[in-house]
């Protein structure tokens, strides 16, 4: 194993820890917004995970996972945020 | 953007000449094309703006990456060190950029740079609502946005 391999392993542990910590936030909430933030960040960290896998296996195929996720992970966040906002609008409509 | 188009045509021509339909080939062609255009810039009226724009874009990217790095460090420091020293606040930041692209770019930059996060743009597009993490001096934040970020953006896009 080269230094790089060790570095990658260390980074893997960091990233996984980051994801797990984000997951803990996701589990704990307390608000839906917190969970959305956590999920959004997990997708960004997953981009890192994919890239790390590309480094570890020396195979750029995993980079594609990262690219796609970087592109579309955003959409999920947009929809969740929109849900959050529209639910309030809907409640306001009901009150009116 | 007709200068950009010319540059692109030059890049494609390069690719065609060298027969290497790869990204490297295209980039090389683009760079060479830029150089060529710069050499014969008198043939292109108002081309000075084009080259300046290229420079400003580059500056924007570099400055932005630097700011991002700094801001991330500050967040990381706050997170990794015990205790909290943040002083959060919701701020109003008047802005002077006008186009959609500029506003969006600005808001993104604000979000990615130290201590600030754009929450919304006012309806009249004259104000940015910003969440600041270390807002002991709101004026300083407003100043930074106005004098740095807005400037870079304006230089790159106008």
């Amino acid at each position: 194993m080269t230094i790089l391999d060790y570095a990658i392993l260390v980074a893997f542990v960091f990233v996984i820890l980051g994801i797990v910590l984000a997951a803990v936030r996701l589990f704990r909430g307390p608000t839906l917004a917190d969970r959305i933030v956590a999920l959004d960040m997990m997708t960004v960290q997953l981009v890192a995970f994919g890239a790390l896998m590309a480094l570890l296996s020396r195979d750029a195929a995993f980079l594609d996972v990262a690219v796609v996720l970087a592109l579309v992970g955003f959409l999920a966040t947009v929809c969740l945020a929109r849900y959050l906002e529209q639910r309030i609008l809907l409640k306001a409509e009901e009150r009116e | 953007m007709n200068h950009f188009a010319v540059n692109l045509i030059l890049a494609i021509a390069w690719v065609a000449l060298t027969g290497s339909l790869t990204l490297t080939g295209l980039l090389t062609g683009f760079v060479l094309g830029t150089a060529a255009m710069w050499l014969v810039r008198p043939l292109f009226p108002r081309s000075r703006g084009y080259f300046a724009r290229l420079y400003f874009w580059c500056r924007l990217v570099v400055m932005f990456v630097y700011e991002l790095f700094v801001s991330s460090l500050s967040v990381a420091k706050d997170v990794l060190t015990p205790g909290q020293n943040s002083k959060p606040a919701l701020l109003e930041v008047p802005i002077s950029v006008t186009t959609d692209l500029q506003i969006a770019l600005l808001s993104n930059l604000v979000s990615l740079t130290p201590g600030t996060l754009t929450l919304d743009v006012s309806e009249d597009r004259k104000t940015l609502y910003v969440h600041a993490m270390f807002a002991s001096d709101p004026e300083q934040i407003r100043w930074r946005i106005r004098e740095h970020l807005e400037l870079w953006i304006r230089d790159a896009t106008e």
Partner: protein, 139 residues
């Protein structure tokens, strides 16, 4: 959803996503990607468009009813599969034409497999947009 920032970012993203989806489709035979993934990414582009602007605008940009696109994708896949009749080969057999093949490489490939994969792309793309637009118009 009304947001200047989102709308502006979307303009860029939609184009990027569409280009990327076609890229994923075309290179899928050699690297991760293909009709499904391409179609899914393409669909996300228009979903984003519909969310940032409105379904009506997304529909207008699409020109064709998405359910027709989906069904046309099925037809395209079938035609891609049936093309092998011309060569007297079984259903879905890939026919390949290599433009400029040489010792070093196979050249630029054109194939019925690509037609089939394009059918896949269209079916997935159209199918998902049909669903999302219908739901979006509901709420």
């Amino acid at each position: 959803m009304q947001s200047l920032i989102l709308t502006t970012a979307t303009r860029l993203l939609v184009a990027l996503l569409l280009v990327f989806s076609v890229y994923a489709l075309l290179r899928g035979h050699n690297l991760p990607g293909g009709g499904f993934i391409g179609g899914l990414i393409g669909a996300t582009a228009f979903i984003l468009y519909a969310i940032a602007a409105s379904v009506d605008e997304a529909r207008a940009a699409l020109l064709v009813d998405p359910s027709n696109i989906a069904v046309a994708g099925l037809g395209a896949a079938a035609i891609g599969g049936l093309a092998s009749v011309l060569a007297g080969k079984p259903f879905l057999t890939g026919l390949w034409l290599f433009l400029g093949a040489s010792e070093g490489g196979k050249g630029l490939p054109l194939s019925t497999v690509l037609i089939f994969d394009t059918g896949v792309y269209l079916a997935v793309f159209g199918g998902i947009l049909t669903l999302v637009f219908a739901l979006e118009e509901e709420t």
